[in-house]
């Protein structure tokens, strides 16, 4: 038998992606484009929230949307029809998250000229997207009332990387034992810097708070 030779690597699996993500962020900075990565469990209301938010912002900013899905284009079509905004569909080919390289490939298909804001709807999942930096400038996540207020304890990494936590479907609060104050406290435990914004994407209640937050972020990104 041949002799076994050992090659030391000692390298984190996430290292290359982290590098790609930092490069992408730098390029976006140079071009004055703000990229928001929006994450949540399946069905928390990413698409519905996006539609309400886009309708508030589309006269103020030039926006593009990238919809990541494992294998359909339902959401992209829905957004395009409801807002008229440029929307492209990314297929992750079975992968449970997007990485920086896939995000870049998506951006290559967006006309970025003059675009202020690109929103990426990530794959519905609270674990994997948290581990892969997409190169986004800020991260937002949606937690919906039926999921329960203890999610920040169960998915600490996701909550620790988010700049804003949207609590959606507050219209159904009377029917669930969801405790908004407890939820805020748990988010603070994981991430004291995260802002919590309660909304109802269906009626638009509270969505203006999120839209203003986003507007502020885009402005800061271009100025700094």
């Amino acid at each position: 038998m041949d002799q076994v030779k050992v090659i030391e690597i000692k390298k984190s699996v996430f290292e290359d992606n982290d590098k790609d993500a930092n490069n992408l962020r730098k390029e976006l900075k140079d071009r004055g484009v703000f990229l928001l990565n929006l994450m949540s469990s399946p069905g928390s209301g990413k698409t519905t929230t996006l539609i309400s938010t886009l309708n508030l912002l589309k006269d103020k900013l030039k926006i593009a949307v990238m919809e990541a899905d494992i294998d359909s284009d339902v959401d992209a079509v829905k957004i395009k029809e409801a807002t008229g905004i440029q929307t492209i569909q990314l297929h992750t080919g079975g992968m449970c998250h997007l990485d920086a390289e896939m995000t870049r490939q998506g951006l290559d298909n967006v006309s970025l000229e003059g675009t202020d804001l690109v929103i990426l709807e990530n794959v519905g999942n609270l674990v994997c997207p948290a581990e892969f930096d997409t190169g986004s400038c800020k991260n937002a996540m949606i937690l919906s009332v039926p999921e329960g207020h203890d999610k920040p304890l169960k998915y600490p990494l996701m909550f620790s990387i988010c700049d804003v936590v949207i609590v959606n479907k507050i219209d159904v609060l009377p029917y669930f034992d969801f405790d908004l104050e407890k939820c805020k406290e748990y988010v603070r435990m994981r991430n004291p810097k995260a802002q919590v914004i309660p909304i109802c994407a269906k009626t638009g209640e509270g969505v203006d708070v999120f839209a203003n937050w986003l507007l502020e972020q885009v402005k800061n990104w271009k100025q700094q």
Binding site: V4, K5, V6, I7, E8, I9, K10, K11, S12, V13, F14, D16, N17, G94, M95, C96, H97, V127, C128, E131, L157, M189
Partner: protein
């Protein structure tokens, strides 16, 4: 599903290293996986078997997993304690001012060729 994604990254990195060292076949890949990394070693090795056998470089190659115990450090009393048993609260002084020292890694340690 999560583990399969990780496997693709491992394969990509191992391929790169193999190319640099002009290696034609890798017999073992050794990983350091932290106890609180969210990776389940059994799923990882299952996904590995499926994906690695599709590559000439990695056909039959074994994936060995070293588990790295998770350890948390307490800023208030300066002691360390096992994370999985005690979580974020220091068992020595009850403080919540703690942070993870290790146990989060998903690292390729070495390959054997």
């Amino acid at each position: 599903m999560h583990e399969l994604g990780i496997v693709f990254y491992i394969i990509r990195d191992v391929k790169k290293v193999a190319e640099e060292h002009k290696v034609e076949h890798v017999s073992t890949v050794v990983m350091n996986i932290g106890e609180v990394s969210t990776i389940i070693p059994d799923y990882l090795t299952d996904c590995w078997r499926w994906a690695a056998d599709k590559e000439d470089l990695l056909r039959g190659c074994e994936l060995k997993v070293n588990t790295v115990p998770a350890v948390t450090y307490c800023e208030d009393c300066g002691k360390e304690f096992p994370t999985v048993q005690h979580g974020k609260i220091c068992p020595h002084c009850g403080s919540e001012h703690t942070y993870l020292l290790r146990g989060n890694e998903v690292e390729i340690k070495e390959i054997q060729v």
